[in-house]
Point group: C2
């Protein structure tokens, strides 16, 4: 079947107008008509439904340009909310955002650890109820829950089909289970795509600008935004930068290939390498333990690297060199001119990673004679993934999408 | 400035309807309305202009579904033409296509060699005139000339900014010069994107299907089709798969990086490696010469590999391993489920490359548990780039595009 024509659906047009209002701050109907190419009559009709539904309010008057002063419209930010949840081994974060993407409240609870998926989902549903009651938010004003998870998604059922640690989550349909437990629409998205959409909704990137967000937690991935939407690929798993091979005859990765960024350079790989250096391991007070928290161990190593421990620094610099070379490959393939580094893996040693990526792209990007590549830090705080997940809901419900046939 | 809304421009809508008619074969106005989501009145109005302009004809009647039998429409393939030109060191190809993308005639003339760009362009313009006269094609029925070139494009002026061999072409505005010499619209596109659009217009891929075409001539690149159009990136240079590093500490590439596919695995690299094996070099009758034709030398090595020369085979298999690993990286990043191998570099040893890419993707693609990746041969004949270039014109003039603000 052929794809539907772009913009043919009225829901798409409504979302597009709402997105224009959001990204404009304040805007008149005439300006909306100019920016969208739609007639003023069509704009007026759509704006009327947006006002009735509470998404948009009239806030004042613009300067007159001859005739009547045009009425200014803006997003009614307090009219609805989006929830974001990040499911993480060590902790689960909840955030509440208004529909401009601004974070209003956040809350962290114990991580998934080794609990059964259904019991985790039931606990998250109870936490969400408490969280909403505490902040006096009516459930019917929540437009949806975004869930951020690490690993491959199953396009059909919203399951996380991951690799090493997924275990029982592999076949578990998170969207359906949390949807049933909360009676709200749920969207599952991988952490890198959440981070990319979070960047997008932070207002730092124009909707017309393509970019990639490299997301590093214990592993690494990336979210690629093209034409104002995340590029998903055949099964919603695009962006697997962690399985670029940088050493074709290097050590085997769990994916079966060799010399992947995953096995050479991620926080998990750095912690593994540090374990082989007994003196360093002991000096930093790192311990083998059941369910070791790789993020915490990596944070310790990164902190040591930033405060002059030469061995720790050389491990982190080695990681940064691999990450930078992977970003170089990504940049060459997508001809990118903007890249963000986000996620907790970049939090502590961000100057080392940022300098290395900037240096490598500045010296080696194939297009360096034609254009430069801006590299900036994105969000690296513990709530970044959950906030990104809330953005996924906003993006899904409030911006135009291209439905594929 | 915000992007225009998708589908807002009437030229876009007209192109979209024409594209639907093309891809449908025969179709009624009612079916067009159903497929596009536009009203029958809008469809009728657009179809009328397409018939007046000669792009579409009425060809008969469909079965009645109750009332009057609906009139069937189809593309008026003989109404207009597109020209394709590939500028190559060893030879220049010209092709003439009808507007369905079918190749009607082709012609090859001497290559660019070391001639001045302007004199090459003047010669191409004269060849185009003779070619059109010979085939009794009225110049005013040619909708444009597509030019395929190897190397980086300068998004601003249509110059080829390449690397090693570009020389005087580096600052030369091909589009403007050939446009002036022929008085026709000219579009310059890199060879990999031409090949991808050629695949698209061959009718083998549905317009709704994302895919990548790996294009190998003396170097390697790829054209990536997303949502029915080539993905171009910030400066129209996306797809530089040749500068993925597969050996982070490997030999230096002319791009400045190390271990790139370009320096490890392209036909140019294979010929370089063969030169180091004096016995092989002599056995195959390869000679050092002024302006050596790398494609011809590689063809000799590839033919030897296919006919049992063990040393030649191991060089080509090594190349195939690197190419396959680069395609694996591309597949993981884009989450592709369809890849074509095209271009003269794949012509002779296609079984070796095809088997290797299929084997590597089958064993190692990160998404292999979720979906398979189909790998097929695309066009590898000498006119493939020129035919692809003609498709670029058809694609540009006859399908809807997304104008970025």
């Amino acid at each position: 079947m052929a794809r539907r024509l772009k913009g043919a659906s009225s829901a798409d047009t409504r979302s597009a107008i709402l997105d224009l209002i959001r990204s404009s701050g304040q805007v008149s109907r005439i300006e909306l008509s100019e920016k969208s190419g739609l007639t003023e009559a069509t704009i007026s009709k759509i704006v009327r439904t947006l006002i009735v539904d509470g998404f948009v309010i009239e806030t004042g008057y613009a300067e007159s340009t001859g005739g009547k002063r045009p009425v200014l419209l803006e997003l009614n930010v307090a009219s609805r909310y989006a929830l974001g949840v990040s499911l993480d081994y060590a902790r689960i974060s909840l955030v509440l955002c208004d529909i401009s993407g601004k974070m209003l409240h956040s809350h962290a609870v114990a991580g998934t650890r080794v609990s059964k998926p259904q019991s985790v989902i039931d606990r998250v549903a109870r936490e969400i109820s408490r969280f909403l009651v505490k902040h006096k938010v009516d459930r019917s004003d929540v437009i949806g829950i975004g869930v951020s998870g690490a690993g491959r998604l199953d396009a059909s059922g919203g399951a996380l089909r991951s690799s090493k640690q997924a275990g029982e989550w592999e076949e578990f349909a998170i969207e359906a289970a949390l949807g049933e437990a909360t009676n709200m629409p749920v969207i599952l998205e991988n952490d890198a795509n959440c981070a990319a959409l979070g960047e997008f909704w932070s207002g730092r990137v124009s909707t017309a600008h393509d970019f990639a967000t490299i997301y590093m937690a214990t592993g690494i991935g990336c979210g690629i935004v093209i034409n104002g939407d995340v590029y998903r690929g055949a099964s919603s798993n695009a962006g697997e930068i962690g399985h670029l091979s940088l050493d074709i005859d290097g050590p085997e990765c769990f994916c079966g290939s060799r010399g992947c960024v995953e096995v050479m350079a991620t926080p998990a790989a750095v912690v593994r390498n540090a374990r082989d250096d007994h003196a360093l391991w002991k000096r930093l007070g790192l311990r083998e333990r059941e369910g070791e928290d790789i993020r915490a161990s990596f944070a310790t190593i990164a902190a040591a690297a930033m405060t002059g421990d030469h061995d720790a620094e050389s491990l982190v610099r080695q990681s940064a060199k691999y990450v930078a070379t992977a970003v170089l490959g990504l940049t060459n393939i997508f001809d990118l001119d903007r890249v963000y580094l986000a996620g907790p893996g970049f939090a502590i040693a961000s100057p080392i990673y940022l300098d290395m990526v900037r240096d490598v792209l500045g010296r080696l990007a194939f297009m360096r004679k034609v254009h430069s590549v801006a590299v900036e830090m994105g969000e690296t705080g513990p709530g970044a993934a959950a906030r990104g997940a809330a953005s996924v809901v906003l993006h899904s419900r409030l911006t135009p999408h291209h439905v594929r046939g």
